[in-house]
């Protein structure tokens, strides 16, 4: 290959590669954005929940606070009449290296701004299909969903 051909080929390569802009990720952009769910829910207008609001099935969409590394997800079904059933995927108290499902069955009621699940209390607020429960150990946002 003559020198002129090499130079021409190099020129073509340079020209073609020049079409690609630099794509270096800035240092501050390296972390994956975990999403802004917390901000979205914080921006909602939360109001007091009533007894009529609760009955239905719910699944957790946001868990915050100290429980975040202990509770992976939670689901509740609140029945008309004051009974409920709940399930949560949690770090096993017996074997802290594993996750396990726990289930609960009991009664629920509202006492002012608090949801009383048997003898546990959490401040409850409602916004549309979302319920926010605030407990000393953390906060959880539940979204209502329809059973299949």
């Amino acid at each position: 290959m003559s020198h002129s051909n090499v130079a021409l080929l190099a020129l073509v390569i340079v020209a073609s590669c020049g079409c690609y802009p630099s794509n270096v990720i800035d240092t501050q952009d390296r972390q994956v954005d975990p999403g802004s769910a917390a901000e979205v829910f914080a921006a909602l207008e939360w109001a007091a929940a009533t007894t009529e609001d609760l009955p239905g099935t719910y699944a957790s969409v946001l868990i915050e606070g100290d429980i975040v590394s202990l509770v992976v997800e939670a689901r509740y079904i609140f029945h008309v009449g004051g009974t409920y059933s709940g399930a949560a995927l949690v770090l096993s108290p017996a074997n802290p290296e594993r996750l396990e499902y726990q289930t609960l069955n009991g009664t629920w009621s509202l006492d002012g701004d608090q949801l009383v699940l048997d003898d546990e209390r959490a401040v409850i607020r409602r916004s549309g299909d979302f319920l926010r429960l605030e407990h000393a150990e953390g906060r959880i946002v539940l979204e209502r969903y329809e059973l299949p």
């Binding site: 794509n23 240092t27 509770v71 949690v90 770090l91 108290p93 802290p96 726990q102 407990h135 000393a136």
Partner: protein, 376 residues
């Protein structure tokens, strides 16, 4: 002749009447003595009443036996139901006892918290606040945890008066790593594990929230290759780095992308992804660590081995570990390496387009605590 004829007639009539009378008398007498029985011919297979009675007794016995068997089965089922019911009741009672135990433990925990706060208040009264260099941190009630565990390093903004500390810079474990009671959340029984800044725990990388990459310079332009195809875990007591870090981070090298298909293909060839599909970093310790328990950050140099394309090199990787609002670890750091140290020849196109031998590897990881580490 006429008289004998008539006489004979009378004798004949008398004889007939006599015979009739005798017949009637005989019939009357015989009728009283004779019983007429009308029956079928005698059969050799005639039903034996005793046999019938035996059959009846046999049938009754079989019915009785069947009744006994059915009764036994019913009694067994009843016993089974009673056992199940007893087991269910026992389970319910056991669950209730567990919950009562949890409540008692929470009460104990809150009692301990109150006692700790009282001690803190007493200490504050004894040792007045001077300035930030005294090693005395003032509490931030807004961040104190009501369950009492806020007194530990998870909530470093809690009261941490430390007038006895000879070195204000050194973090002080605020609470002992004593056995903690169970925790609960809306009735669910929770582990005492979870995120603990001071305790040795196991952390799992969250691949979809992590990214590993490299920045490379060439004569044309700089570029980044990155991937979230990451998995791994490690064990560490963040607040006590001297306790050692141990774990592995694995990256699927074939999933690294730079945004240019041809360049990616060449990169995979250079990395020999078929033979060495993974890039791994095995961490052994954090050296030169600086711990800020209040901000829950750790900075230091991760010492370990880095394996790329089948070649392993000891490296010292500066890293910074922080905790986000969801109690996940954010691990970031970058390291300059030479491709030639790992047997990789820097790409070169006809001597015109060259990629520098030195590249900057970086990590931006998130990990979540998955419980206490089983081994030290």
């Amino acid at each position: 002749m006429a008289l004998p004829a008539k006489f004979l007639q009378w004798i004949g009539v008398a004889a007939i009447v006599g015979l009739c009378a005798a017949a009637v008398a005989g019939l009357t007498i015989v009728k009283q003595r004779i019983q007429v029985t009308i029956s079928d011919e005698a059969s050799p297979d005639a039903v034996d009443p005793v046999g019938l009675l035996r059959d009846d007794v046999s049938t009754l016995r079989s019915d009785f036996d069947r009744f006994g068997q059915n009764l036994g089965r019913e009694l067994d089922r009843l016993a089974t139901h009673l056992d199940e019911s007893a087991t269910g009741n026992q389970r319910v009672v056991s669950e209730r006892l567990d919950r009562i135990e949890q409540r008692l433990l929470r009460l104990v925990e809150r009692h301990a918290e109150l006692a700790g706060r009282l001690d803190g208040i007493s200490s504050l009264r004894v040792a007045p606040v001077t300035d930030g260099s005294s090693g005395l941190a003032v509490s931030d009630p807004a961040h104190a945890r009501p369950d009492g565990s806020g007194a530990d390093a998870v909530s470093p903004s809690a009261v941490s008066p430390n007038p006895e500390s000879p070195n204000p810079e050194s973090p002080r474990p605020v609470s002992p790593a004593a056995e903690k009671p169970k925790r609960g959340f809306l009735g669910f029984s929770l582990s005492t594990g979870g995120f603990q800044f001071d305790e040795r725990q196991r952390f799992e990388l969250i691949g979809k929230l992590s990214r590993v990459g490299f920045d490379s310079k060439s004569t044309l332009h700089d570029f980044t290759g990155a991937t979230s195809a990451i998995r791994g875990h490690f064990e560490a007591a963040l607040g006590k780095p001297e306790g050692g870090y141990r774990g592995t981070i694995t990256v699927e090298s074939a999933k690294l992308v730079t945004g240019v298909d041809g360049r990616d293909a060449e990169m995979r060839t250079l990395l020999r992804v078929e033979q060495h599909p993974q890039i791994t970093f095995a961490v052994e310790a954090i050296d030169d660590a600086t711990v800020d328990a209040e901000a829950m950050t750790v900075s230091g140099v991760a010492r370990g081995t880095l394996s790329i394309a089948g070649k392993t090199q000891a490296v010292r990787w500066p890293v910074r570990i922080a905790v986000d609002s969801s109690r996940r670890l954010e691990i970031s750091g970058e390291l300059l390496i030479k491709l030639s140290d790992f047997g990789i020849k820097a790409p070169n196109q006809l001597g015109v387009i060259t990629v520098e031998d030195e590249i900057k590897m970086w990590v931006a990881l998130r990990a979540r605590a998955t419980g206490l580490a089983r081994s030290q």
